[in-house]
Amino acid sequence: MRFTSALRGVATVAALATVGLGLAACTPDAPSGDGDGPIVIGTSLPLTGDFSEGGTNTQQGYEVWKAITNENGGLLGRQVDFKVYDDASDQNTVVSDYTQLIGQDGVDLVLGSQSSLLNIPASAIAEREGYLFICPSCGSGDMYNRGFTKIFFSQQSVAANQAKLFAEWIAALPEDERPATAAYPSLDDPFAGPVVDGAEAILSAAGVETVYKDVYPADTKNFDSIVAAVRDSGAEMVVQGAQFEDGVNFLRSMNRAGYQPDILFQSSSPTYGDQYLDGVGQENTEGVFFAASYTTQAATPGNEEFIAKYKELYDGAEPPEDAADGYAAAQVLQAAVEAVGSIDDQDALADWLHANSVDTILGTLSWNEDGSPKGDFLIGQWQGGVAQIVLPADVATSDEILRWRGGAL
């Protein structure tokens, strides 16, 4: 009978669950590193769900680092291996994942997840268990006011300062060239919001009037009415806090509405390389400003090697920013481990990082006491289908600065 067989099935599941729970309870956690085998680095990433785009890219960065490191003899003479869990962009899961990695799996080291929303709870687990937590994606300021001692953000600055150089440059333009009005649409996100707020603070202090400022929810797909409102406000410049998709859609919407401001800045979205180019169309990328932690043109140590290995592993594609950030995080970890000479004392690793700086493919990174980085983001602009760096001048890969959709500024 269907009934009793279903019942049998369920009873079996219940029994198995009880047994499983019992076994799990009594199994002590695996002891960390036995000195000979590979060094295991644990991480949880959003490979599915809302943040899956960035999560997958970050994982690629980790993989490239692993390939290069192992080819060069490994870390402290031992091969490295990753243990990666998918947290599905869910906080409960990321907590369980890191607990599992540190506890049950007994990994030697951990690296962070992608997105502040996941990394805030994840870093708490690491801090509680005394593990060093190097984070490729922790732009939110809230991460650093909790008194944690072992957290480090492996990019040049927190979100609020990302657009600083751009805003300062605009503010420094002579009055007849500087735009009089600006619009600030932003994604409702702890990453994107602060970027725009930081820029607005600098620009409005310099006399650029804010004629539109609003926040749109994360799942907004249709930007036509938002763009209509921005257009009607008469803004000469648009500074958008975006993530990826929303940046693409906003731009396409601007075309439909026939709205073409002189200056367009989008955070994050334009850093997605070919995905952005295809999503928007090349002539639309021309002149779009963005802030980036990374550019493939940079002459930073290890960058050529990174790009070559990435192309080799991933079908000749250009590495996106999140992959580079992941790679840099691993580089920071590597530097600390090699300097201290062992993986057993996480406190020593943290202390070394507080006292020193590390050269990565993003440039030289160094940190404040609370783990937030000291430094400035790069400001880039798409020119001729290539993402160039335009600020700061000393690392710029291009001399000109264009207006959106072509023409000198």
Binding site: R2, F3, T4, A6, L7, G9, V10, A11, V13, A14, A17, G20, L21, A24, A25, C26, T27, P28, D29, L47, T48, G49, D50, Y85, D86, D87, A88, S89, D90, Q91, N92, T93, V95, S96, D97, T99, Q100, I102, G103, Q104, L117, I120, P121, A124, E127, R128, E129, S140, D142, N145, R146, G147, D188, D189, P190, G193, P217, A218
Partner: protein
């Protein structure tokens, strides 16, 4: 009075499935589980500890949800929202008061969640079934929206971070664990206590048949409000501990619909309406969740697993694990035995002691019930059309008429099941046509149904305990299975002769037996007026006679009756006066003598060749053959 036939000597099957044995087995299992649970942090595996802590949070939420979804039968997908509200309350207060342990705020979080839940219950008092579910979904998403927008309070999408626990590292997870275990214990205690009171039986009555529950005095909207509030109380507290454990609360994490789905899944898997079912369910679902992530391979596997589990549950095991096990045991135990319905009825017992004895009015009584110009249409169909009649106090009045004449509709209008388009209904001079069914029940109207509407899943005794004479907190808290209420119910059961069936499931009774129990239910209300819808319909002659006896006995003590009936000998032998209804209006009234000879009545209903042989209520009748008198 003979009871059921003695059972065969218990065989091995009977012994193995003996309820008493299983009660002890259950107690032992629960005890072992409790000990393991309390001492769990001794486990050397911190990821197992993590799973158990999360499972505890879900178990508390599931146990709370059981009150509104399990007992009252209202599927709510907003339980996750209350968990989140608790978490946010705790986080906001913790941030505003650094230096105070976040645990202190748990009771406050619980109260806030309970108040919000009660408000939601208030707003949805008229919603049932699909509407209710949709509203709870909308509510969860709306709360998420508010959390995102009200940045002043909640810090918007960025969320609120909490400090790391301030106790020594060696204590590990003990504080979280013990607080949650204590909350779980409280939650189970609350659930157990509710089940044992009239409030609990009332909730189950609402689940089984909300309309019927109204007619026995159960004020469904208020019950729902209370149930909702109670369901969220401990959940909110668990939420604040949960937020503290994660050290971070934010809108997308705390108010995801999937969280509510997980909690509902736990309740249904374990068995809704049972005490331990939701807990069992939570402790199966949460490890499954973790397992799907780590070993199964990630987000998509988890979705397919949860979705598949949900689908399979609904299709194959909708009642859940514990009730199915119970049912299975019951079937094994009773295989080959004869059900109770074969037993003979007891004799009509002593009339029940009435707490407010009524005097039988000596003279021609004032009407107890007056119906004036009542009208009710359904679309183009005028079911009741300018109907007016009175029911004298202390009488047994009959309402007869052909099918489709509107008799049941009139009953529905009087008992409050429907509201009239026009007209007035006066009970003892008071206009009641705008009152709710339960208010009318509290004023002394009781009513039975043509197709009996007992609460099938409850026992006969519980069915008779369920009605509420008047609404007060004291009444709600009265014990349902023991105490004064139960004794009274037993008296009434004895009166109608159904004592032997006290503990039988009401759904297993025969039609006639159900009618008797329904009558006993109505008597709990100590009604002034009882509406009987075809009391003699569909039952054997012995039972018909018993019905007549019971009606007469109650009438002697002062209860007024209004019957709808087709069995003419029964009516003519019992009732005076008689009202005849046709096409929604009264066409004749008078004593049995007049009615039998009234040409309108003969034309519309009785037919030219109607013969009455034997006694009618008003004396011997010359048999009339054909034609007019």
């Amino acid at each position: 009075m003979s009871g059921p036939a003695p059972a065969a000597a218990p065989d091995w099957r009977g012994r193995l499935t003996d309820p008493v044995l299983w009660r002890w087995i259950t107690r032992a299992l629960v005890l072992v589980a409790a000990v393991v649970l309390v001492l769990f942090p001794l486990s050397p595996s911190i990821s197992a500890q993590n799973t158990v802590i999360l499972a505890l949070v879900f178990a508390i939420s599931a146990s709370g949800l059981n009150i509104i979804t399990g007992y009252a039968g209202y599927l709510s997908l907003s339980q996750g929202a209350f968990l989140g509200i608790g978490a946010y309350t705790g986080a906001i207060l913790a941030r505003a008061n650094p230096g105070v342990s976040p645990f202190v705020w748990a009771p406050v979080a619980g109260v806030v969640a309970a108040v919000v839940a009660a408000l939601l219950g208030l707003v949805t008092y008229r919603s049932r079934g699909p509407s209710f579910v949709i509203i709870t979904i909308a509510f969860t998403l709306l709360v998420q929206f508010v959390a995102r927008q009200w940045t002043g309070l909640t810090n918007g999408s960025s969320g609120i971070t909490l400090p790391l626990p301030d106790w020594p590292r060696e204590w590990g997870n003990w504080p979280f664990h013990l607080v949650l275990v204590a909350l779980l214990a409280l939650s189970l205690l609350l659930s157990w206590w509710i089940r044992r009171t009239k409030f609990g039986t009332g909730l189950i009555a609402i689940r089984e048949d909300e309309g019927k529950a109204g007619t026995i005095g159960i004020n469904a909207p208020v019950y729902k409000l209370l149930a909702f509030g109670l369901s969220a109380l401990l959940t909110g507290m668990a939420g604040s501990v949960y937020g503290y454990y994660l050290t971070f609360v934010d809108p997308s994490g705390m108010f995801a619909i999937l969280l509510s789905v997980q909690i509902v899944l736990s309740v249904i898997l374990g068995g809704r309406g049972t005490l331990f079912g939701p807990v069992l369910g939570a402790f199966i679902i949460q490890p499954l969740n973790s397992w799907a992530n780590t070993i199964g391979g990630g987000g998509n596997v988890r979705l397919v697993l949860f979705g598949g589990l949900l689908v399979l549950l609904v299709l194959l095991l909708p009642s859940g694990i514990l009730p199915s096990l119970q049912a299975l045991l019951e079937r094994i135990r009773t295989r080959g035995t004869v059900g109770l319905s074969g037993a003979r009825l007891g004799a009509v017992g002593e009339s029940p002691a009435v707490t407010t004895p009524r005097e039988r009015p000596a003279v021609a009584a004032a009407p107890l019930l007056e119906v004036r110009g009542l009208a009710k249409s359904f679309g183009g169909n005028r079911a009741v059309d300018d109907c007016s009649f009175t029911v004298p106090e202390g009488s047994i009045t009959a309402l007869i008429g052909p099918n489709g004449s509107g008799k049941t509709t009139v009953f529905n209008l009087v008992s409050g099941t429907m509201t009239p388009d026009r007209g007035e209904i006066l009970l003892g001079g008071e206009a009641i046509e705008r009152l709710s069914p339960w208010s009318r029940a509290h004023r002394g109207i009781g009513r039975t149904f043509q197709i009996t509407r007992l609460f099938k899943e409850m026992t006969v005794l519980e069915n008779v305990v369920a009605p509420l004479r008047d609404f007060s907190p004291g009444q709600l808290g009265l014990g349902a299975v023991s105490g004064a209420e139960a004794r009274r119910a037993e008296e009434l059961l004895a009166f109608v002769g159904m004592s032997a069936y006290r503990d039988a499931r009401a759904g297993s009774l025969s039609y006639g037996q159900q009618k008797l129990v329904e009558l006993a239910q109505v008597l709990v209300l100590e009604p002034r007026l009882i509406l009987l819808d075809e009391p003699a319909g569909g039952i054997n002659p012995t039972l018909i006679e018993r019905m007549g006896e019971l009606i007469r006995e109650l009438n002697r003590q002062g209860t007024t009756f209004l019957l709808v009936e087709h069995n003419m000998p029964f009516v003519l032998g019992l009732c005076d006066p008689i009202r005849v209804l046709a096409r929604g209006a009264v066409i004749a009234e008078g004593g049995p003598e007049q009615i039998q000879h009234d040409p309108l009545v003969l034309d519309a209903y009785l037919g030219d060749d109607f013969l009455l042989e034997g006694e009618s209520k008003t004396g011997a009748v010359p048999t009339v053959k054909g034609g007019r008198a």
